[in-house]
């Protein structure tokens, strides 16, 4: 940890500068209101400073308003590195590689399901494997698993879990093509092979939501979002495979840094130069986990579709489920951004941050290109979600990135303590939200008070102009791991 006390300079109501001091190679830039900044605590700011020490970092180390303490990089951290002089760091991606969200719209309204809601939640809970160490129905051979790692969501579609149209509405088309399964350890393969098609535990969830407010009617129309519409939000990642890949490469890169004499302020920031064999190996392994996560969310979507049709006794046509978009919020990508008047390829790390590309960008799917990329922001359990849209300002200022969610304010233990003697399940039900969870303590640990206010977080990115509000969704049913 860096010793200097972080002194912040206010730029405007939503931007704070961390001045460049000591060994920092660039300054820091934090998006936050005064209130959110206070909630983030000093540890997050110190981590922004630590990230600014890394070789080859370009422009500034960024943090989003949902910033909170993480391993190495803060959660909500964004940093871009020059391909020739910069580094890639597993700590800048996180343990849950390609943790992300997928929002599916339906042709149903709340009135269509209101009477059946509790049965729907029970059925989804039964049909979607969730919880600690949950395993799916599929036990892949290592050979087949490697195909998943190579092909991502495309593998799932080839197996009948969805359509080619789903791939178009997935970030990167649901596959990173530089994935190399030979760079993944046996341990990681072993941890992943039983977990494809499972939600996981902790903050991962599947929610039934209703569109409650539209902020931008023309973008909402382009996205196909209407008030009163039922939608399903899935929040999951690459499961044990991703955790193991992160863990394996942290250990490898600590050795590697000792060998080449590179020192960083925190071991969790272990890194390698992007163009070194070690850096390339990590990227190729990380891409495998990213692909696994995309295949996983594609399968979860398929299971959800089947479960809803069965439970409601309707045809897929009546359900009318289609994928709005799938985004990752824990990833490193090679993308091009304007730097000093030129557009350069950079290695952008987003750890608890979401891509927010502007209208006209070639990586935005055709059907949305005139308005910009859909950005999905899940709240904490039962709060609902936002759909935002990417902006030019994000492209120019924040490496095409925005916030990813609400962000923790209470530790799991603090939340458990604070919820003593209360029934979180009952409290949620009183607010009209039906919840089922696999883990006994999950509801306490994940209770709404444990998180920052989602509306306040989204207001900051909206006012700062790094994404724009399109719609807000309210939760009516939730299954947790």
């Amino acid at each position: 940890m860096s010793k200097e006390k972080p002194a912040l300079k206010r730029i405007d109501d939503y931007r704070w500068e961390v001045p460049q001091t000591g060994g920092m190679r660039v300054r820091g830039l934090i998006y936050a209101s005064e209130k959110l900044l206070k909630e983030s605590g000093a540890e997050g700011v110190e981590q922004v400073i630590n990230v600014a020490h890394l070789p080859g970092i370009v422009k500034y180390a960024l943090a989003m308003p949902d910033m909170h303490w993480g391993y190495g990089f803060p959660i909500g951290g964004v940093a871009a590195f020059d391909l020739d002089t910069g580094v890639v760091s597993p700590g800048g991606v996180g343990y849950d590689i390609n943790c992300g969200c997928r929002l599916m719209l339906t042709a149903l309204t709340l009135a269509d399901i209101e009477n059946r809601l509790s049965q729907l939640v029970v059925d989804l809970f039964r049909d979607i494997p969730s919880g600690v160490g949950s395993t799916g129905e599929m036990r892949l051979s290592i050979e087949e698993e490697k195909k998943v790692l190579k092909k991502g969501a495309r593998w799932a579609v080839e197996q009948g879990f969805g359509t080619a149209e789903d791939l178009e509405a997935t970030e990167d088309g649901g596959v990173m093509d530089f994935a190399d399964p030979e760079r993944v350890s046996q341990k990681a393969l072993e941890r992943g092979r039983e977990q494809l098609g499972t939600l996981g535990s902790g903050n991962h969830f599947l929610e039934i939501e209703v569109v409650e407010q539209i902020f931008d009617t023309s973008v909402a129309r382009a996205f196909g979002i209407e008030e009163g519409q039922i939608a399903i939000m899935i929040h999951s990642g690459s499961r044990g495979l991703g955790y193991q890949i992160c863990d394996d490469y942290l250990a490898t890169l600590i050795k590697h840094m000792n060998k080449i004499g590179l020192s960083v302020p925190d071991r969790q920031l272990a890194c390698a130069f992007i163009k070194s064999p070690e850096g390339q190996d990590y990227l190729a392994a990380m891409a495998c986990a990213a692909n696994f996560a995309w295949a996983n969310r594609q399968m979860l979507m398929h299971f959800t579709k089947e479960s809803l049709c069965r439970s409601l006794g309707i045809s897929p046509r009546t359900l009318g489920m289609r994928l709005l978009y799938d985004v990752c919020h824990n990833i490193a990508k090679i993308e091009r951004f304007p730097v000093g008047g030129k557009e350069l390829p950079l290695c952008v790390h987003r750890k608890g941050a979401t891509r927010a590309f502007p209208p006209g960008h070639p990586q935005v799917p055709n059907r949305y290109r005139s308005v910009g990329q859909p950005v999905l922001i899940p709240g904490d359990m039962g709060t609902g979600s936002y759909v935002l849209v990417g902006t030019n300002r994000a492209f120019e200022e924040s490496f095409g990135s925005t916030c990813h969610g609400a962000g923790r304010v209470l530790s799991r233990a603090q939340a458990t303590k604070k919820s003593k003697g209360r029934s979180i399940e009952k409290e949620m039900a009183e607010r009209g939200i039906l919840v089922m969870a696999a883990g006994k303590g999950t509801l306490r640990e994940e209770m709404p008070e444990a998180y920052k206010n989602l509306d306040a977080v989204v207001e900051v990115v909206h006012q700062a102009g790094i994404s724009q509000k399109v719609a807000r969704l309210r939760t009516v049913g939730c299954i947790k791991g």
Binding site: H68, S411, G441
Partner: protein, 139 residues
């Protein structure tokens, strides 16, 4: 040593602070603390032996890598453990035997998921009378 270990709270995660009258005992107690977080350890029988060997850049790196290997038994071999014998601990190398059995969800109650062992605030040190170590888990 009265106390072998205690659990510590961290912002998003959980950690352990571990004590031992020797470095070997510290490592043993660390492995026990890890499994005590994962599973109701009183329901686990020492039916199988699993040998683990680890390397490290320094003692703290070895400590983290040792706990990583111990956790791997659960994630990869689906084994839960209730005891540990530490045979060798040097700065750069360690050897231990973990005792336990194959996970059986009908008998073993899992307490919580541990995704990984992290380097954050990890340390091992010797005071004048005993050894102490700490580690934070990503859960």
């Amino acid at each position: 040593m009265k106390r072998k270990y205690r659990f510590i709270n961290h912002i998003a995660d959980v950690g352990i602070k571990v004590y031992g009258s020797s470095c070997n005992e510290l490592f043993r107690n660390g492995a026990l603390a890890l499994y005590d977080l994962l599973v109701d350890i009183s329901t686990v029988l020492p039916k199988e032996e699993h040998k683990i060997t680890v390397q490290g850049e320094d003692l703290t790196d070895l400590w983290v890598n040792f706990l990583r290997e111990a956790l791997s038994l659960f994630h990869i071999e689906k084994v839960v453990c209730c005891n540990c014998y530490v045979a060798v601990i040097n700065t750069g190398y360690g050897e231990a035997i973990m005792y336990g059995e194959t996970l059986d969800l009908n008998r073993h109650r899992l307490k919580q998921e541990i995704k990984a062992v992290t380097y954050h605030q990890a340390y091992v040190k010797k005071t004048s009378t005993y050894w102490v170590g700490q580690v934070i888990f990503d859960v």
